[in-house]
């Protein structure tokens, strides 16, 4: 079959255009303009080259082994040095370039240890207005081994949240030891010896059962009220829901 002359010419023009585009795209335009992997590799290289501000705890241990040995035994063993002392990569590189800050006032420690209702219970929290006001924390606590100078007498030293909840509840006037037996070891090694918790319904019934001597405590029939469940499965003893 004979192609008409005008189709041949059109085909030639189209062919030349396609070839021009292909040559342009793959040969003429530099690869750095279109290659995504090159851009990404450049970005990765640029990110890696960024300077560090925090040296990391391992770098501190190289010189300050005395402090790190002390710290490894105390409650602060998991803390990073630079968490309190601030970024110190410069100091690690060249110790003569200046010392990292050491917080010695009353501002730094409460960042973690001020009472805050949203914090997990059991995390040591203090009320800075009543806890040795105006004294810098380091006069009593060594931050590298923060053992209290004397064994805390009151439970609220660590259990601030329960203490405050209880303070506005109907149980405000009860001492913690009314319901909890606290082994002496708990005060020095809190996790090694836990305080006891009441285990029976009769324990609450001593005040809240029919015929109990407490006049102002709400009374229930302990044998029937609540069926087979324990009291604290419905009532939170530190803030009993019974009264608004």
């Amino acid at each position: 079959m004979r192609l008409p002359e005008q189709i041949k010419r059109l085909g030639l023009v189209v062919g030349v255009l396609v070839a021009a585009v292909l040559v342009g795209r793959f040969a003429v335009i530099p690869r750095s303009l279109v290659a995504t992997e090159l851009h990404q590799a450049t970005t990765v290289a640029r990110e890696i080259a960024k300077p560090m501000k925090f040296a990391g705890t391992a770098a501190c241990q190289d010189c300050h082994d005395d402090v790190s040995i002390k710290k490894a035994k105390g409650y602060h063993k998991n803390l990073s040095c630079e968490g309190c002392h601030g970024p110190a990569a410069k100091h690690a590189e060249d110790p003569s370039s200046g010392k990292p800050a050491a917080p010695r006032d009353r501002k730094s420690c409460p960042v973690c240890h001020i009472y805050d209702a949203s914090r997990p219970t059991g995390f040591p929290q203090i009320n800075p207005t009543s806890h040795n006001p105006l004294k810098p924390c380091i006069t009593c606590h060594n931050p590298h081994d923060p053992v209290p100078p004397k064994v805390p007498q009151e439970c609220s030293a660590c259990h601030g949240q329960i203490e405050r909840t209880k303070a506005v509840s109907s149980h405000a006037l009860l001492a913690c030891t009314t319901c909890h037996k606290v082994p002496p070891l708990h005060k020095t090694a809190p996790r090694s010896a836990l305080p006891s918790k009441p285990e029976t319904r009769e324990f609450c019934g001593a005040c809240h059962g029919k015929g109990a001597p407490q006049k102002d405590a709400p009374k229930v029939d302990v044998s029937a009220h609540g069926g087979r469940f324990q009291c604290w499965q419905c009532h939170y003893p530190h803030l009993p829901e019974g009264r608004g």
Binding site: G24, A27, V28, I29, P30, R31, S32, L33, T36, H39, Q40, T42, T43, V44, R46, E47, I48, A49, K50, P51, M52, K53, F54, G56, T57, H76, N78, L79, S80, E82, G83, G86, P87, V111, C112, I114, Y115, D116, A117, S118, R119, P120, F123, R164, T165, A167, V168, L239
Partner: protein, 265 residues
């Protein structure tokens, strides 16, 4: 410049660029060959970074809600490490306080304002059912919406599972900031480009922890390699009941939360 000049310039510019690149490639090959022959000792500190192989890692973060005390040390460390502006509203990582009240209200506030006193009104505690802190950051999603929408391809996932922003390619159109369902991106006021958490990539490739994980005093943040069988993250992932933020969006975040409350959005 008129049209004729422009076209003339184009005709010269692109072939010239191609030729230049060819020449540069040839030169690079030559120098590489001489380097190999000379066997120069590598600079100090360089081996750690050059020996790094991205294919062998896949990074993620674990967050244990029950351990976070809301001290904001991670936020401060992140700002110091990554030159994030000190003003509020610019965060690569931040902490939210959730308060769930008796009337089923949920109060969420960002607690990163420095020196803001904790609540001192125990009376209010009566109405609180539960309250806790939630640290947040870029989730480094396996299917990141921000990467999909970027019109210039400036943001991308690396082989080791980190979503990065090419600040020289970013045109600052803010599309990714809108697209991120977690609000993890912001426009850097100085560079006018999108900025976000990069897992402290410059630290991670050298075997160090991200700054926020480094300073976290209660180990609420855990960083690690999902490809390693014995990383802290792998263990965290095995030992806890894990949830991620907004799983229904199928973004597949790699920031895993243990003890996450259903009210957290």
């Amino acid at each position: 410049m008129n049209k004729r000049d422009f076209l003339k310039g184009m005709i010269l510019f692109f072939p010239a660029g191609g030729l230049l690149e060819m020449a540069a490639n040839a030169a690079a090959k030559e120098t590489a060959a001489t380097d190999a022959a000379g066997a120069q000792p590598a600079a100090k500190g360089a081996p750690a970074a050059s020996a790094y192989n991205g294919d062998k890692h896949y990074y993620g973060m674990g967050i244990e809600i029950d351990k976070c005390i809301g001290c904001s040390r991670c936020v401060e460390a992140c700002k110091a490490e990554n030159d994030v502006p000190q003003e509020p509203f610019y965060f690569r990582t931040w902490i939210e306080r959730y308060v769930i009240t008796k009337d089923h209200g949920v109060i969420v506030e960002s607690i990163n304002v420095k020196g803001k006193a904790a609540k001192e009104t125990p009376q209010e505690d009566r109405d609180v059912i539960r309250t806790f802190f939630v640290p947040k950051l870029c989730n480094h999603c396996i299917h990141p919406p921000c990467v999909q929408v970027c019109p210039v391809g400036a943001t991308f996932s690396t082989k080791d599972g980190v979503v990065l922003v090419d600040s020289e390619r970013c045109v600052g159109c803010r599309y990714c900031i809108q697209a991120c369902p977690y609000g993890a991106r912001y426009l850097h006021p100085k560079t006018r480009t999108a900025d976000k958490c990069n897992f402290c990539y410059h630290r991670v490739v050298k075997g160090l922890l991200p700054a926020c994980v480094e300073v976290c005093p209660t180990q609420a943040r855990i960083f690690g390699d999902l490809k390693s069988k014995a990383s802290r993250l792998t263990r965290f992932y095995r030992m806890n009941k894990i949830h991620v933020l907004k799983p229904a969006l199928n973004t597949e975040p790699k920031v895993y939360y243990a003890g996450l409350d259903g009210e957290v959005r």
